[in-house]
Amino acid sequence: MELIDRYLQSVKWMLPRKQQDDVIRELNDEILSRVEEKEDALGRPLSEDEQVALLKQMGHPMLVASRYRSQRYLINPTIFAIYWMVLRLILAVVFVAMAISAVAVAATGQGLGQALGIILRYPLAALSVFAWVTTIFVILDIVQVKFDFFAKWDPRTLPKLTKTKPRHSMIESVVGLMLSTIFGVWWLVGLKHQFWIFGPGYPVLHFGPVWQTIYPLFVVMVVFSVIRTSVDVARPGWERGRAWFRLVYRVLNLIVLYFLYNATELFVPGSANTPGITEVLKGLNTAMHVAVAAVAIVTVIQAGQDVYHLIRDRFDGSERAIACFFF
């Protein structure tokens, strides 16, 4: 019966201290009763394999012991939804703060490694946020149970009705936030240290002066883009805010395109003396101007659609008809 004693010992270790002896005595009796029943039926003592089968049927010691404990949560399901919302919001805010720092470092012309290093410290910061928010909510839960906040509520204080629209996937938003930050930092560093963009072609090809003229505009766009994608993560259902952000971003795009279209040289020859490069750049600049014009036309159309949707969502019924008439 050594196996049974070992089994009971394992269960005992995982039981609440006060219940240990009592529960083990009872379980011991249950197991021995079952052994006796089987031995009576077989007319012989149980083999080791049969004892193993019997104990396996009783369940893993950890599982058996767990049933004697009351169910525990780190965060009570009642307040979990608020906890999850706050945690996401703070994680997004911290990410935005770090991304803006990275953009600022990149904008001052420091190395890409230094700028990305700030972003790479995010997991550690996120862990710290998780620990703090969780601790605060555990304390809130204890306070909530003690003072029974949920008993003191008034239906009139509930939020007003909102139009429900399909939400965007959280993974999509998080990936969007990370990509926009990494791309933004790379772009800002690349404009100052062009080999990050042109790679082996850097000695042959450089950006024209216009790109440096509108550099502050790119900084604004990168910061705006990070904020915009962070809002997607923190408030996935905020469709109206999303539409406004999209419209402002398109307007910023149009300003950049205006400067690019009016610049004569978007690309200039690099330091290397490459034969025929002048002709190639002439063709490239013409093609780029055509492309810039095409993108600008598409952006204007999209901005028009955004304005239309914003107006349509703003007004209902007759109000909408009047608004459409005027706009």
């Binding site: 219940q19 529960v23 005595r25 009872e26 379980l27 009796d29 049933r67």
Partner: protein, 136 residues
């Protein structure tokens, strides 16, 4: 894909069954313990009546019901072994009576709902069999 769907349905069914049984098990245990019994005999007796319950469920439940004052227990020696005997406490008797009343009401309501829903389906289900009957 089909197997996955089968597994998922089996899992849902199992969860619903266990939810359906949970409340009834308590009533069954309380009712059985109108007569004093120890864990093993109680489990056997429930099993004989078609209510199988593993030890991992029964013993923690007995402990919980005792801590709520619905059961009383004492250790006594029987067949040269110490056993913990449980019986329904006076408070448990009151609770059991109430629960049985609720059970009866619930059962009557459910029966009425089932009868009504079966009556609603009756013409649809009986129609094809009438048509398919051989005409001599």
């Amino acid at each position: 894909m089909l197997r996955m769907a089968d597994n998922s349905i089996a899992e849902i069914l199992e969860n619903l069954r266990s939810e359906l049984r949970r409340g009834s098990l308590i009533v069954a245990v309380l009712a059985e313990l109108r007569q004093e019994q120890y864990g093993y005999t109680l489990r056997k007796s429930l099993e004989e009546h078609g209510i199988a319950m593993d030890e991992g469920t029964l013993y923690p439940l007995l402990r919980r019901l005792e801590s709520q004052g619905l059961l009383a227990s004492e250790w006594r020696e029987q067949n040269k072994r110490n056993k913990r005997f449980y019986r329904l406490s006076p408070q448990g008797e009151v609770i059991l009576t109430e629960l049985l009343l609720d059970w009866e009401n619930l059962s009557q309501s459910l029966t009425a709902i089932l009868q009504r829903s079966q009556a609603g389906h009756a013409p649809e289900t009986s129609a094809p069999s009438t048509e398919a009957a051989p005409q001599d």
